[in-house]
Structures are given as structure tokens and as C-alpha cells.
């Protein structure tokens, strides 16, 4: 078991190394660099040389990669171009904001998704299933920029209950941020919940049709005891991995929603730094998002392993 964890962590680190190489090479191949972007039309002669020296761009690429990597491991990603601020300081509040958004969506979305999924599966083809399934399929198919815009129109503009876009500074406190995140959370949670509810539904239906559930019924196990003891533990195990991917997606992938609501999260930072050709920040973001995906997936796999007796013994036997 311990050996397996170490092996998985090592594999994760290798993945991160490869990601960092790819982003580094990618930014190298692109025409132009940080200095030409920063200096724009003055990017020639003495000034360019000076900029290269200042940013340390005058040494060979592999040396720059090594020194960048060494610093990055220590949490120092160098300087952002646009504000000449340390990237660390740019990232900090953004990560916090993204975490706030993601955790709010998770705390609301996952329980609702589980309940809806289980209810639709247990009352399969009956009224609750038909009603909820129609709504979830509807919620899944509407793109988030439509639902987000509609939410702004109805709740922020017509009803004037909540602010439509986030116009607070990036580093406000949690309480000040709170009213601003309600609409983005609703917009994200709708899609996420719908997807997960569908998945939970099919997983529960599959387990309900299994021979061991039929056996439990024939053993005389009361209905709800059967659901909680025999069905749910087996049906929800595959959901762990989906939840993990959703969390990772929430942290870095909800770009559209963040842009629509002008939310200062990681997703919007990706867009901003790409359009500003702020390559050091892009590099840092790529590594951070990759680490989030790798570590959350690792956690999910370990959890599945721990909860599934079948996998556990298989590993021990090996």
C-alpha cells in the first residue's frame, strides 16, 4: 500500500515535470518573448539588451529552465510582466477566490446531485424521475454563458437582488466577496449538478439491477436498509473520481463563467495573461493547474482504493 502511494506520487511528479517542459518549450518556440512584448516598438538595441539582462533572458534556454524550475519548486515563479509584481503575489488572492467559488459550488452542488441522482434512480420511470430528469437534461444542455447571462438579467437587472458582476478588488475579505459569488455559484452548480446527478442515477440503476441486490431482496432485507447497505456504497464508489475531476475543473476550468461575471479567479487570470502575452504567468499557471489536477486525482484514486475492498486486497497480494 505504502509502496503504491509512493509510486503514484513519483508518477505525478514526472507528469508535472513533463508539463513544465512542454510549457517552457512552448513559450520558447513562440515568436517574441517577454521583453519584446514589454518594450513593444522600442524592442531593439540597447534597451532590449538591458531588458534581457534584467530578466535574465540572455543565458541559454536550458540554464533558464533549470533556474526557473529551482525557483518554482520554492514557490517563486519570478515576476509578472504587466505589473512587474512577483507572480506569487498575483496568484495568491486568485487561488483563494477560486477556492471560495469552487468550495461553495461543491458544498451546494454535490449533496444536491447525490440526492437527485439517488431519487431518480430509485423512482425510475415514475413521476419524480421523469420530472427531475427532464430538468437535469435541460440544465446540462444550456451553455453556461447563456444561463449566466440570463441569471444576471433576471436577478441582477430586473429584480436587483444581487450584484450582476464582481467589481470588488481582487484581495477583498471573504465576507465582502460573499454576495458577489452567489450568481456565479448558481451558474456553475447548475451544470455540474446536472452532470453528476445523471451519473449517479445510472450508477445506482446499474447496481439496483445487480444480482446481489436481487439476493438482498430475496433475503428479506427491508428496502431502505438494502439501499443504504447494499446499493449506495457500491454505486457511489465510481462517483469519487468524477467528483475529483469536477473539483479540478472548478478551480481552473470555469473560464467562461468567471469572464461573464468578471470574477477574479484563476480561470480569468489564464485568459488575461495569455492575451497580455505575460509568459511567466502563463507558465506558472500551467504548473499550478497541472499540480491541482494531479494531486486531486491522486487523492481520488487513493480514496477509491481505500474504500473498495476488492482493489485493496489485489494491491496487497501483488
Amino acid at each position: 500500500m505504502l509502496f503504491l502511494i509512493i509510486k503514484r506520487i513519483l508518477l505525478g511528479l514526472i507528469t508535472l515535470f513533463i508539463v513544465s517542459l512542454i510549457t517552457f518549450v512552448g513559450t520558447e518556440i513562440l515568436p517574441g518573448d517577454a521583453c519584446t512584448t514589454y518594450l513593444e516598438r522600442q524592442a531593439f538595441g540597447e534597451q532590449l539588451e538591458a531588458c534581457y539582462r534584467r530578466l535574465g533572458l540572455n543565458v541559454p534556454a536550458y540554464e533558464r529552465y533549470v533556474s526557473w524550475a529551482v525557483n518554482a519548486i520554492q514557490g517563486d515563479f519570478g515576476y509578472s510582466l504587466s505589473g512587474e509584481m512577483p507572480i506569487k503575489e498575483v496568484l495568491g488572492p486568485r487561488i483563494k477566490n477560486s477556492l471560495v467559488l469552487a468550495s461553495a459550488a461543491i458544498f451546494i452542488g454535490i449533496p444536491i446531485a447525490l440526492i437527485l441522482g439517488i431519487v431518480t434512480a430509485l423512482w425510475r420511470d415514475k413521476l419524480p424521475d421523469v420530472a427531475i430528469s427532464t430538468v437535469t437534461i435541460f440544465a446540462m444542455t444550456i451553455p453556461e454563458f447563456i444561463s449566466a447571462t440570463l441569471l444576471i438579467l433576471i436577478i441582477a437587472i430586473w429584480l436587483e437582488w444581487l450584484p450582476g458582476i464582481v467589481i470588488v478588488p481582487t484581495d477583498v475579505s471573504f465576507l465582502e466577496l460573499l454576495p458577489n459569488i452567489i450568481l456565479p455559484v448558481i451558474a456553475i452548480a447548475m451544470i455540474m449538478t446536472a452532470h453528476m446527478a445523471r451519473m449517479v442515477r445510472s450508477s445506482v440503476i446499474q447496481v439496483m439491477a445487480s444480482e446481489y441486490v436481487q439476493m438482498a431482496i430475496l433475503k428479506g432485507v427491508p428496502y431502505w436498509k438494502m439501499v443504504f447497505k447494499h446499493v449506495l456504497p457500491n454505486a457511489l464508489l465510481p462517483a469519487i473520481n468524477v467528483v475529483a475531476l469536477t473539483i479540478a475543473w472548478l478551480l481552473g476550468g470555469v473560464v467562461v463563467t468567471e469572464v461573464v461575471f468578471n470574477y477574479p479567479g484563476l480561470g480569468r487570470l489564464v485568459i488575461e495573461s495569455i492575451s497580455n502575452r505575460d509568459l511567466p504567468t502563463v507558465q506558472a499557471l500551467a504548473i499550478i493547474l497541472a499540480s491541482i489536477y494531479v494531486s486531486i486525482n491522486l487523492l481520488a484514486d487513493l480514496m477509491t482504493l481505500m474504500l473498495n475492498p476488492r482493489l485493496k486486497t489485489l494491491q496487497i497480494r501483488k
Binding site: M215, A216, I217, K219, G220, V221, N234, R310
Partner: protein, 675 residues
């Protein structure tokens, strides 16, 4: 008159088709189960036997519904009962032992918990008493060290152990009626014999009534007092088990018994034409009309009623039972197989060993497999042209592994496989040239999985013809039609998809595909085990006919020793990937010499209440072959001592050409059989 515990009255269960028609799975079933008796329900797949068993617990599967009739237990109709009341009967009064215990035990719950759950629901025992009771139950089903078994998860047990746990779970509620749905199908022969013996013991010990559902007349014969034969949703014959097995007075049962291969009789059994009609296909007349040898004009339009014959205590659904009554001794006639053996050796397997061990990095670099105890070891068989050689053994004996290596799906660790004395086939598929691939073809166990569901029969058979012979257009079509005729399928099958065919027809298409390549050797991997008994005989006869026509060599893998007896010239017995005995079938079957061969043959169930299985060895499951000595040392009842544990036994050759690998001297081995 003994007390009746379950009364099934005019029961019909069915479903609505897409067109809104009512299609019946069970048609007007009436029967009674008496206290303390064991009733066998026998029928082929789709005859409705499992649906009937489930209905006896008041359970109707999703999608089906009760159309009429009742299942009465303690004078209340289970099919109309509320779930809450049913929960008090299920597991406590009526318990079920499922077909596949591996699937029927909840994977995330420990064995102990699952039995405890039944005890909590159906007894008033306190916690410590329940713990005691769990051990008792596990002991009763003869599981070793109950305390540790209780802490295990279902997947940590072998198939036989899982089945025993299911029995223990069913006994937890001390039920009055036990329903067993194919409880031994899917187990090895020796395990099956042991589980049946256990069930017999429990029936006697507890006085529980049992309903035993199976397609296997051999298993039914061992346990039941009374037999119900079902055909396409109806009871066609019901009566005391001895009479039914010895003097069946219904043509279907008669034909069924004739089509089962027997150990005592070499040669292929006679097959029954056609297959069971699909539910809803028969609207008028007798449902067995198409396949019946005794049918008359009136059978076509009139449905016979179930008629009770007082003097025989038997009910039968046939107009013609009287003519069968006079002459219905099952005098089995078999088609003797012609051996088309030639002297030329076509395949030489020498010193072959195969390993599933993972290569470590160094081995990968050096391209070798280092495993000093491989799954399959020291296989030496020389196969003559036109021979049918059978590999037999329990699961894990390596018989399919050897087939895969011959086919090139698995590379060998060592040894040589030579075709026609000269071509080396030891390498795997990638290194073989197209002709090497053509000469060896495989037929798989399950045609549902081996035929592409999105291809028509024409496309399936065309593939090898195009690949190996480059046929096109009219010529291709002509060849396909010829092949279909060879496997007794008409031209119109060409446009059909596999899902539109019955199991037997699908396997015929698979046979045609194998023969399309004009192979020299065909590997048959359990080709009949997914088929119904009546269809199995037809496929075996077909294979034999084709072999005589084409002079093909068969390597036949099966766990069914009676089938092997029927079709093979020579048998190789394998245990844990090592050969135990190789010899002509008639010698291996008549003079079982190796202790393991004796164990296997002793455990075969025959559809005859007078032939009881002999249980020689324990049905322990060994995970790995022993490091040294004889492979069978762990289970051998005749073990000599240290010599068996340390030295690999030598080959001993009998006068009839039978090779046996055992330390016990030949004289000693033969003497024992005479006694």
C-alpha cells in the same frame, strides 16, 4: 398425505411486447411442493424455470408482471402480498440459493456481516449468540476456519467457497423451503459434486423442502425426489424422478435424455432437431410440434393438456404418451465416431512452458521470462493429422492457456511448438506469416462474444475468405453459401445479424468462419458449454461430420468429461498446468489410472439416479502449482510421502499406450481399479 407448503395455481407471468401484445413466459403453471421433498425443475434456457422459482418467493423481475394465478404459501398469495409482509417470509420461511454466488454476494460487505444480516432479520438471537451461530453455519457448509472466513470479503473466496457461503446464508433463517437456482452451474466438476452432496445432506438433516432448478439433468438426478420438466413456459412432464429419468413418457424428455453424452458410452449422442421456440412465437398447437418425432396432424392445431396418470403418479402433456409408455426405455444409440487418424504428425508440442509472470525491467531488456514456477510447464504432446485430442482439467489447469499459445495469442516461455515437423510456431502472432495464421483457427466458447454484433453472417464468413484467399464478388458469395450449407444453415441466413440467431445457430456460424480459412488444425475452446443440451449434441455431430469431410485436426478443450468422451480420440489430463496422463480416450476412461483422473471421473454426474458420484479428494483450491514434486500432491488421496513432495514423477507407459505420470507403480495403480 404429506402437508403441502407451496401451491402454485394456474400461474401465468409475461411481459408486454413493443406492439402491445401480451407475451407469456410462464403459461398456466400448477404444481404443489410438499413438505420435506426435493423437486427438480429442469428445462433449457428460456423455458421459464427461473421465473417460476422466483415467483415462488413472490418476486417478479423488473419488466415482467403476473397475468394470472397465484403462488400460495401458508394459505396466502405471495404475488399479491405487500413488500413489508414479504420481507418477513423471504429468508425466514423461503430462502434462495442463487446461481452465481460470486455475483450474488454484495462486494463491499464482509461474509460475516452478510450472514449476520440474515440472522438479525430472521432470529431473536443476541449478538454473542449470533456470532456463535455464524461459526456454526459456516461449519455446517464445511468451510475451513469459519472465524477467518467471516472476516473476508466475497472476492477473496473461491467459487466453491462462495457457493457454500450462499448456502450458509440461506440456512441462517432456518427456512421451510429452499429454492436453488442452478446452484452448481459454473463450478468445477469436483466442486459441483461436493456442493450437491452437501445439499443432499442438508435436506436430510433439516427436513427442508427444496426446489432445485437446473438445466443439468445429471445434477437433478442426484438430488430430486420428483422432477418437473418445462418447455417453453409450460410443464410438459411431472413425476417421480426415477420414472422420468428411466422411462420418460414425453417426447421432449425422451429426446433430451438421448442427447446427453454419457461416460459409459463412447460416440456421439443423437441430436434433437431445431431449438426451443421464442416466447410468444407459438399460438396454436403443441409447442414441441416442430421438433417432435412422434407428432401427428392433430398436434399442429390442438394444444395437449396436462394429463394426470393415476397408476404412474405422473402428469404429461402429450397426445401420444401411451405409445411412448410401452417403449420408452432410453436405449441410447450413439453414432460411433470414425477415426480418420493418419500416421503423419501435424503438431509437436515439446517441453512447452508458459508464464503469466510480469517481466521486470532487466528481463524486458534481455527479452526473456524468468519465472521458475510457470503456470504451464513441461508439456509434451505430439498430435497426429486427423486426430481429435482433448485437454481436460478443472479451471486453472492451464488448458485454455495452452490453446492460446498454439494460436499465438500468448508467447511461450520455453519449448517448441512445431507444425508439420518443420514450421516453428513458438513465437506469437506478430512474427507468424499469414499462412501460419491460416492453418490454425479458433472456435470460442461463447458465440455471443466472438461474433461481431454489427456484422451480418455474410460479412463474418467473408472475412477469412477475403483475407487468406483474396476472394471477391460471385466467387466469394458462392463460397459463403457452400460453407453455410456445410454447417446446415440455409442461404437466407446471409443477411441476418448474430442477434437474430439462436445460440446453436450462432455457434454454427462460428464453426463456418473457422472452416472458411481451410485450416489444418482447429482449436475448440469449450465450444458447447454455452449451449443447451439438445443443441450441444447437434453441434458435436456437426463438428465430427466436418472433420470427416475435411480431415481436420481438433484440439478440444472442455471441462465436461462426457462430451470429451463422446468426441475425442485421445485425452490429455492436466492439473495446475502439468500433464498427469495422456492416452487413448477409451483407456483413460475405462482404466482411470492417475489419481487425479480418478477424482475427475468420479465426480461426473450422470442423469441416472443409480449412478452416484464418488468423491475421492477434497475440493481445495490451490493458487499456485507446488515448487517441486508432483503437481497433484496437495489433493492426492494416495500420496506416498516425501517422494511425491520432492521429485517430479516419472512417465509410466501401460500396455495400451497410456502414459501416466505418477510415483505409484503401474501394477499398484491397476490393482486398485480392479477392486
Amino acid at each position: 398425505m404429506t402437508e403441502i407448503i407451496q401451491k402454485v395455481k394456474n400461474l401465468s407471468i409475461g411481459f408486454k411486447s413493443k406492439k402491445g401484445e401480451e407475451i407469456l413466459i410462464l403459461r398456466n403453471i400448477s404444481t404443489n411442493i410438499k413438505k420435506g421433498e426435493t423437486v427438480g425443475i429442469v428445462g433449457e434456457s428460456g423455458s421459464g424455470k427461473s421465473t417460476l422459482a422466483l415467483a415462488m418467493m413472490g418476486y417478479v423481475k423488473h419488466g415482467l408482471y403476473t397475468i394470472g394465478g397465484e403462488c400460495e404459501f401458508n394459505s396466502s398469495n405471495l404475488l399479491k402480498m405487500k413488500n413489508r409482509d414479504l420481507e418477513k417470509i423471504r429468508g425466514r420461511k423461503i430462502a434462495m440459493i442463487p446461481q452465481n454466488a460470486g455475483q450474488a454476494l454484495t462486494p463491499n460487505l464482509k461474509i460475516g456481516y452478510q450472514i449476520d444480516e440474515a440472522l438479525q432479520l430472521h432470529s431473536d438471537l443476541k449478538e454473542e449468540e449470533r456470532e456463535q451461530k455464524i461459526s456454526e453455519l459456516l461449519n455446517k457448509v464445511r468451510l475451513p476456519s469459519p472465524e477467518t472466513i467471516a472476516l473476508r470479503y466475497p472476492h477473496e473466496l473461491s467459487g466453491g467457497q462462495q457457493q457454500r457461503v450462499a448456502v450458509a446464508m440461506a440456512l441462517a433463517g432456518t427456512p421451510d423451503l429452499l429454492l436453488l437456482d442452478e446452484p452448481t452451474t459454473g463450478l468445477d466438476v469436483t466442486t459441483q459434486a461436493h456442493v450437491l452432496e452437501l445439499l443432499n445432506f442438508i435436506a436430510k438433516d433439516t427436513g427442508t423442502s427444496m426446489v432445485y432448478v437446473s438445466h443439468d439433468l445429471g445434477a437433478i438426478a442426484q438430488v430430486s425426489d420428483r422432477i418437473i420438466v418445462m418447455y417453453s413456459g409450460e410443464i410438459v412432464l411431472e413425476g417421480p424422478s426415477r420414472d422420468i429419468l428411466k422411462k420418460p413418457i414425453h417426447p421432449y424428455t425422451y429426446g433430451l435424455l438421448k442427447s446427453i453424452p454419457k461416460l459409459s458410452l463412447a460416440g456421439l449422442p443423437q441430436s434433437m432437431p431445431g431449438s426451443q421456440p421464442q416466447p410468444g412465437a407459438i399460438h396454436r398447437g403443441c409447442s414441441f410440434f416442430d421438433r417432435c418425432d412422434f407428432s401427428e396432424e392433430k398436434c399442429k392445431s390442438n394444444s395437449p393438456q396436462l394429463e394426470y396418470l393415476e397408476q404412474l403418479n405422473t402428469s404429461v402433456r402429450c397426445f401420444n404418451h401411451k405409445s411412448l409408455m410401452n417403449d420408452s426405455q432410453v436405449n441410447q444409440t450413439v453414432n460411433k465416431i470414425k477415426t480418420s487418424l493418419q500416421d503423419k504428425e501435424i503438431l509437436n508440442i515439446s517441453e512447452v512452458s508458459i508464464s503469466y509472470a510480469k517481466q521486470n525491467l532487466l528481463d524486458q531488456v534481455l527479452n526473456r521470462i524468468s519465472d521458475d514456477n510457470p503456470t504451464v510447464k513441461d508439456i509434451n504432446i505430439n498430435i497426429k493429422k486427423g486426430e481429435t485430442i482433448a485437454l481436460v482439467g478443472e479451471s486453472g489447469s492451464g488448458k485454455s492457456t495452452i490453446l492460446k499459445s498454439i494460436a499465438g495469442l500468448l508467447r511461450t516461455k520455453g519449448g517448441i511448438i512445431k507444425f508439420d515437423q518443420k514450421r516453428n510456431l513458438s513465437s506469437d502472432l506478430k512474427e507468424r506469416d499469414p499462412n501460419d495464421l491460416r492453418i490454425i483457427q479458433l472456435i470460442f466458447q461463447n458465440p455471443d462474444e466472438s461474433l461481431n454484433p454489427n456484422h451480418t453472417v455474410e460479412e463474418i464468413i467473408a472475412q477469412p475468405l477475403k483475407l487468406y484467399f483474396g476472394l471477391k464478388g460471385e466467387e466469394l458469395k458462392k463460397n459463403i453459401i457452400e460453407l453455410l450449407q456445410k454447417v446446415r444453415l440455409g442461404e437466407f441466413y446471409m443477411s441476418r445479424y448474430p442477434r437474430q440467431l439462436s445460440g446453436g445457430e450462432k455457434q454454427r456460424v462460428a464453426v463456418a468462419r473457422a472452416f472458411a480459412a481451410k485450416p489444418d488444425i482447429i482449436l475448440c475452446d469449450e465450444v458447447t458449454s454455452a449451449l443447451d443440451v439438445s443443441v450441444q449434441a447437434a453441434v458435436l455431430n456437426l463438428l465430427q461430420q466436418l472433420k470427416e469431410d475435411f480431415g481436420t485436426t481438433y484440439i478440444f478443450v472442455s471441462h465436461d468429461l462426457a462430451v470429451v468422451r463422446a468426441i475425442s480420440d485421445r485425452v490429455a489430463v492436466l492439473y495446475q498446468g502439468r500433464l498427469c496422463e495422456v492416452g487413448p480416450s477409451k483407456d483413460v476412461y475405462q482404466f482411470p489410472s492417475h489419481p487425479y483422473t480418478e477424482v475427475l471421473l468420479g465426480a461426473v454426474l450422470e442423469p441416472d439416479p443409480d449412478i452416484k458420484p464418488k468423491l475421492v479428494a477434497e475440493d481445495i483450491v490451490e493458487e499456485k502449482p507446488p515448487q517441486k514434486g508432483c503437481s497433484f500432491q496437495g489433493r492426492c488421496s494416495r500420496i506416498l510421502g516425501d517422494i511425491c513432495k520432492n521429485e517430479i514423477p516419472p512417465w509410466q507407459i501401460t500396455n495400451s499406450g497410456n502414459s501416466i505420470r505418477c510415483h505409484i507403480p503401474l501394477k499398484e495403480l491397476q490393482k486398485d481399479q480392479i477392486n
